[in-house]
C-alpha cells in the first residue's frame, strides 16, 4: 500500500493517487505535515521514486529535499507529543532524536536533560495546583450532565469566591489584624477622643435588661443590637494610631488605602480574566460572534456522558440552528421593509421605550419612598410586633426584590411588540434587566444619603444629621448587610418553595397547568444577574462593613450547593443554549458594570460626605479623604513635590493626550492589517482559480495525447486510475487525469 498518498483510500477501498496533484509543492507540504519525514527514510526514497517515474525530474527532487530539511528542523524543535501521530511513530521519533542527541556535545545534552526535568517538575506542580481547585468533582459531574454552557456559571461563582477571599484577606490583615495583635505585640493604641461636642454623642444601642430570644434573631438579621458594636461594622474601629516598638501604624490611612486597593484589584483581575474574550470580539467584528462555524465545529460538548443530556443537547442544537437560520431570513425581511412600515415600527418602539422608562421611574420612586419610610419608622422606635418590625427593617430589600421580579417579565412581554431580531431581543431585554437591578441599589443609596444629610436646620451642624444618625456609616453598613442576608434568603426560598414543588407537580400531575408551566429551565442570565447584584452590594458595603466579604463567601458556598442540587434534580437545559465563550464575556462585562457602579457611592461618600464624629477611624478628619493629604504633608518635601506634580492638571492632561494618541495609532494599525488580510484572501481565491484552470488545460492536453496514442494502441493500459478530487464537486463532471480509459467520455 502506498502510504504516501495525499488522499486516503476512496470508498471502494482502492488506493488512489494522482501523480499530478501530488507533485504540487503545496500538497507536498501537507503530506509532510501529516507524516513527518524526519523518521521515514524509506518513505523519502519511495516518494522520490514515484516522482521520478512521472518524469518531473531533478527539479522536483531538489525542491522536495530542501522542504524536507526545513520541515525536519521545524518538527525537531517541537516536543514530540505535539505532533499528530500514533504512539508507535512518536516512539520512533523519540529514539531517533535520542540517537541524534548522542552525537551532540555533553553540554548540550546536559542542557536538554535539565530542560526536560524542569518541564516534568512544572507539569507535576500544575497537576497538584489543579487538584486543589475548589469544587472540581462537582463541576465534573455537572459538565457530564449539562455541557459546558451552564458550567460557566459555576466557574463564575468560583471566581467570585476567590475574589472575595482576597478582598477579605486584604481587609483583615491591614485593618483588623493590627488591632487584634496589639496586646500580644506590646503596642499601645491611641483612640479617637470623644471631645464632648454635640456631634460626637453616640448613644449605645446595646439591649439592656432581660432580652427576649426573638430580639436576638432580629439583631442577627438586621445587624443591630449586639452586632452593632463589633468588628462587623465601621463604627467599632475607633483607633487612631497604633504604636508598636519600631513603627507607628496609621489605621485611618490603612483603612482608606485598603478600600482603594480592593476596588483596584477587582478591576485588574476582572479585566485580565476577560482579556481574551474582549480581544476576540473586538478584532473579529466582521464575523458574528456566534458564527455558524463555531456552532457546527465546536457545537458538540464531547464531555457529555449522560444519554438524556445528549438527547437534549441535540434538540437544543437543532433549535439553535433553526433559530439562527430563521434570524437570517428575518434580517433579510427587515432590510426589505418599506418606508411606511419603518416609521410605524419606530413610533411603536418610541412609545414602548417611554413606557419602559415610566415603569423604571415608578420602581425607583417606590424604592425611594420605601427606604425613607423604613428609616423613619426605625427612628421612631415604636416596637409593635416582632414580624412587623422585621418587615419594616427589610422594606427596601423587599421592594427591590419585588421590582426585580416583576420588571423582567414585563420587559419580555414588551419586547415582543418591538419587532427586533431574536438575538437582539434577548440581548436588549437582558440589558434592561441589568440596568434595573444595578440602578436600584444606587437609588437605595441615594435615598439613604438624602435622609442622612437632611436636618431640621438648613446646613447641618456636623455635615450630617447627627441627631438621627450619630454614626451614619454603621447605618449604611447595616443596610448593606440586610440586603445581603435578604438576597440569600430569597435565593434559598425560591429554590425550595418554587422550584421543588414545580418539579413535583410536573412529574406527578398531568394537568394542563403542569404542561403549560413546564419543567424549570436553568436560566443563566437571571442567575448571573442575581450573583452580580450580590457582588455589587459586597463591593459597596465592604467600606462600611469590613466583614461583608467573609459573609459573601459563606453565602456563595451555600448558593453553589443549592444551585447544583436544584440543577440536577429540577432543571432541564435551556432550549436556547448559552455558549461557554460568550457567557464568559457577558458575565465579566456585567460584573464590570457592577464594579463601576460600586465605585460611585464609595467615592462620593469618601470624598464628599462628612464622616461621623462619634465613631469610626476618621473622627479627626472632615472627610475620609483628608487622611491622604494629611499624611502626604508629613512626608519629606521631595516626595511631596513629586506627588503634587503627579496629581496636577498638567500631568493629567498630557497623560490623557498621550493615551489618545496611542489609541489612534493602534486603531490605524488594526485597520491597515484588516485591509491586508482582505487583499490576501482575494489573492488566495484567485490563485485557486488559476490552479484549477491550468489543471483543466493540462487534462485537455493529456487527453488529446492519449486519444491520439490510443488510436494506434487499443490494447494499452486498461487500468484506469480514477481520481477522487475535491475539484470534482465544482465541475459538473468528473475530471480524469494521467491515464484515462480510452473509451471514457470526459468532457470538461
Amino acid at each position: 500500500m502506498d502510504v504516501d498518498a495525499v488522499f486516503y483510500t476512496d470508498r471502494s477501498g482502492k488506493v488512489t493517487s494522482n501523480p499530478l496533484l501530488d507533485q504540487l509543492p503545496s500538497y507536498q507540504s501537507l503530506l509532510y505535515r501529516r507524516k513527518s519525514s524526519a523518521g521515514g527514510s524509506k518513505r523519502r526514497a519511495s516518494s522520490r521514486r514515484r516522482l521520478s517515474s512521472s518524469g518531473s525530474g531533478k527539479w522536483a527532487t531538489s525542491t522536495i529535499s530542501r522542504q524536507e530539511e526545513k520541515l525536519k528542523v521545524q518538527t525537531a524543535q517541537r516536543p514530540i507529543r505535539e505532533l499528530a501521530k500514533t504512539m508507535a511513530e512518536k516512539r520512533r521519533d523519540k529514539t531517533q532524536r535520542l540517537e541524534e542527541a548522542r552525537d551532540l556535545s555533553n553540554w548540550i545534552q546536559w542542557r536538554q536533560n535539565t530542560r526536560r526535568y524542569l518541564k516534568r517538575l512544572k507539569d507535576d506542580a500544575q497537576v497538584w495546583l489543579n487538584s486543589l481547585q475548589l469544587w472540581r468533582g462537582d463541576i465534573h459531574l455537572i459538565e457530564g450532565m449539562f455541557g459546558t454552557g451552564i458550567l460557566s456559571y459555576f466557574f463564575f461563582l468560583r471566581f467570585l469566591v476567590m475574589l472575595n477571599l482576597i478582598i477579605f484577606l486584604l481587609m483583615f490583615s491591614f485593618v483588623m489584624l493590627p488591632i487584634i495583635i496589639v496586646p500580644y505585640a506590646s503596642g499601645n493604641t491611641t483612640y479617637n477622643q470623644n471631645d464632648g461636642s454635640l456631634c460626637s454623642v453616640y448613644p449605645s444601642s446595646a439591649r439592656r435588661g432581660l432580652v427576649i430570644f426573638h430580639e436576638h434573631i432580629t439583631d442577627l438579621l438586621s445587624g443591630g443590637g449586639f452586632l452593632e458594636q463589633t468588628y462587623l461594622f465601621y463604627g467599632y474601629y475607633k483607633v487612631d494610631k497604633i504604636h508598636f516598638s519600631h513603627i507607628t501604624y496609621n489605621l485611618p490611612l490603612a483603612y482608606l488605602l485598603v478600600t482603594i486597593a480592593y476596588l483596584f484589584l477587582s478591576l485588574i483581575w476582572i479585566v485580565r480574566r476577560s482579556a481574551t474574550g474582549f480581544k476576540r470580539s473586538l478584532v473579529q467584528d466582521e464575523d458574528r460572534f456566534q458564527s455558524f462555524c463555531n456552532k457546527i465545529f465546536a457545537g458538540w460538548d464531547f464531555c457529555i456522558t449522560n444519554e438524556n443530556a445528549a438527547k437534549l443537547k441535540r434538540s437544543s442544537l437543532l433549535y439553535e440552528l433553526k433559530t439562527d437560520l430563521e434570524e437570517e431570513r428575518i434580517k433579510q425581511k427587515i432590510a426589505d421593509r418599506t418606508r411606511k412600515e419603518r416609521c410605524r415600527i419606530y413610533l411603536i418602539r418610541l412609545i414602548l421605550n417611554i413606557f419602559v422608562i415610566g415603569v423604571l421611574a415608578g420602581c425607583f420612586y417606590s424604592i425611594y419612598r420605601a427606604t425613607i419610610f423604613s428609616q423613619e419608622a426605625q427612628m421612631n422606635n415604636v416596637k409593635e410586633n416582632f414580624i412587623v418590625d422585621l418587615i419594616i427593617e427589610y422594606l427596601p430589600s423587599i421592594v427591590i426584590t419585588l421590582a426585580n421580579f416583576i420588571t423582567p417579565l414585563l420587559f419580555s412581554i414588551i419586547i415582543n411588540y418591538e419587532d427586533y431580531s431574536p438575538a437582539f431581543e434577548i440581548r436588549f431585554t437582558l440589558m434592561r434587566c441589568v440596568f434595573m437591578r444595578l440602578t436600584s441599589i444606587g437609588v437605595l443609596l441615594f435615598s439613604l444619603w438624602s435622609q442622612i444629610t437632611k436636618c431640621k436646620e438648613d446646613p447641618c451642624i456636623c455635615g450630617y444629621n447627627h441627631v438621627l444618625y450619630s454614626c451614619w456609616e454603621t447605618r449604611v453598613g447595616q443596610e448593606m448587610y440586610k440586603l445581603t442576608i435578604f438576597d440569600f434568603i430569597i435565593i434559598a426560598a425560591v429554590t425550595i418553595f418554587v422550584e421543588f414543588p414545580r418539579k413535583l407537580m410536573v412529574k406527578h400531575c398531568d394537568c394542563g397547568l403542569a404542561k403549560w408551566w413546564g419543567q424549570q429551565e436553568f436560566a443563566i442570565p437571571q442567575n448571573v444577574l442575581e450573583i452580580v447584584y450580590g457582588q455589587t452590594i459586597c463591593w459597596i458595603g465592604t467600606f462600611y462593613c469590613p466583614m461583608l466579604p467573609a459573609i459573601c463567601i459563606i453565602k456563595y458556598f451555600f448558593i453553589f450547593y443549592i444551585k447544583k442540587v436544584s440543577l440536577i434534580n429540577n432543571c432541564r437545559p435551556a432550549t436556547r443554549p448559552f455558549r461557554a465563550s460568550s457567557s464568559n464575556f457577558f458575565f465579566l462585562g456585567v460584573l464590570l458594570i457592577g464594579l463601576a457602579l460600586a465605585c460611585v457611592p464609595v467615592g462620593v461618600s469618601v470624598a464628599q460626605i462628612n464622616c461621623s464624629q462619634a465613631c469610626g477611624p476618621f473622627v479627626n478628619y472632615t472627610t475620609s479623604w483628608e487622611v491622604l493629604p494629611a499624611t502626604v504633608s508629613h512626608l519629606p518635601s521631595g516626595v511631596q513635590t513629586l506627588l503634587h506634580a503627579l496629581s496636577s492638571e498638567a500631568f493629567a492632561v498630557s497623560f490623557f493626550v498621550v493615551t489618545c494618541l496611542a489609541m489612534f495609532y493602534v486603531i490605524a494599525l488594526a485597520g491597515a492589517h484588516k485591509r491586508v488580510i482582505n487583499q490576501l484572501r482575494e489573492q488566495l481565491a484567485m490563485d485557486g482559480r488559476d490552479k484549477r484552470f491550468l489543471i483543466q488545460k493540462l487534462c485537455q492536453a493529456q487527453r488529446h495525447l492519449a486519444v491520439k496514442s490510443s488510436a494506434s494502441k487499443l490494447h494499452r493500459s486498461r487500468s484506469s486510475t480514477s481520481y477522487h478530487t475535491s475539484f470534482s464537486s465544482n465541475f459538473d463532471e468528473g475530471v480524469f487525469l494521467a491515464h484515462p480509459h480510452p473509451d471514457s467520455s470526459t468532457q470538461v
Binding site: 476576540r280 457545537g299 441535540r314 485557486g688
Partner: protein, 189 residues
Amino acid sequence: MGTTASQLGKDSLAEYQELTFLTKQEILLAHKRFTELLHKDHKGDPHARVPMDRVLTLPELKSNPFRKRICHVFSTSEQKDGSLTFEDFLDLLSAFSDSATLEIKSHYAFRIFDFDDDGTLDSGDLEKLVNCLTGDTDDTRLTTEEMRQLISNILEESDIDKDGTVNLSEFQHVISRSPDFVSSFKIVL
C-alpha cells in the same frame, strides 16, 4: 489498588507521560479502565486490541454522536475495524485532554469530521456532520432548504480559496478563531 495481570511499569509510565499530554494519574486511570474492557484471555498482553463495540460501551463515548469516527481515526489496526490498543486509547485521551494544544485538537477534529476520509470537508461531509449533531431521525433533521442555507453559510465563513471544500489549513484557521472549541473538544475519564 487491585493487582491486574498487567501492571504498568515505571518506564512505560514515564515514556507515556513524555509522549502524551496526560498526567500520571490519568494514564493509570486509563490503564485501569482499558483493562476492564479487555477480554480476560488478553489481559496480560500489552498489544491486545479491544474491538470497537466494546470500546463504545465506555460511558464517555456511549452518548457521543461521533463515537464511531473517533474509533476509526485513532485506530491503528490493519483491518480498519476501529479496534484500539492501549496505546491508541492513550493517543485518544491525549488528544482530548485539557492540556493538548489547539493544533493537535484541530488536526484530529478535522479527521473525525472527514467522514469519507478524502482529506477535505466537502458538502457531503458537512451534511453528515450536521445530521450527527442534530440527530438522525426524520423529525430532528433540518429541511433540505435549511441544510443548503447552513452549508453555504459555513463554506462562506471558512472556505478561503473558494473551492467548495474546507481543507485542513482552512479548518485550523477557522478553529483558531472559534472561542468554544477548546472547551468543548474535551473528554476526561
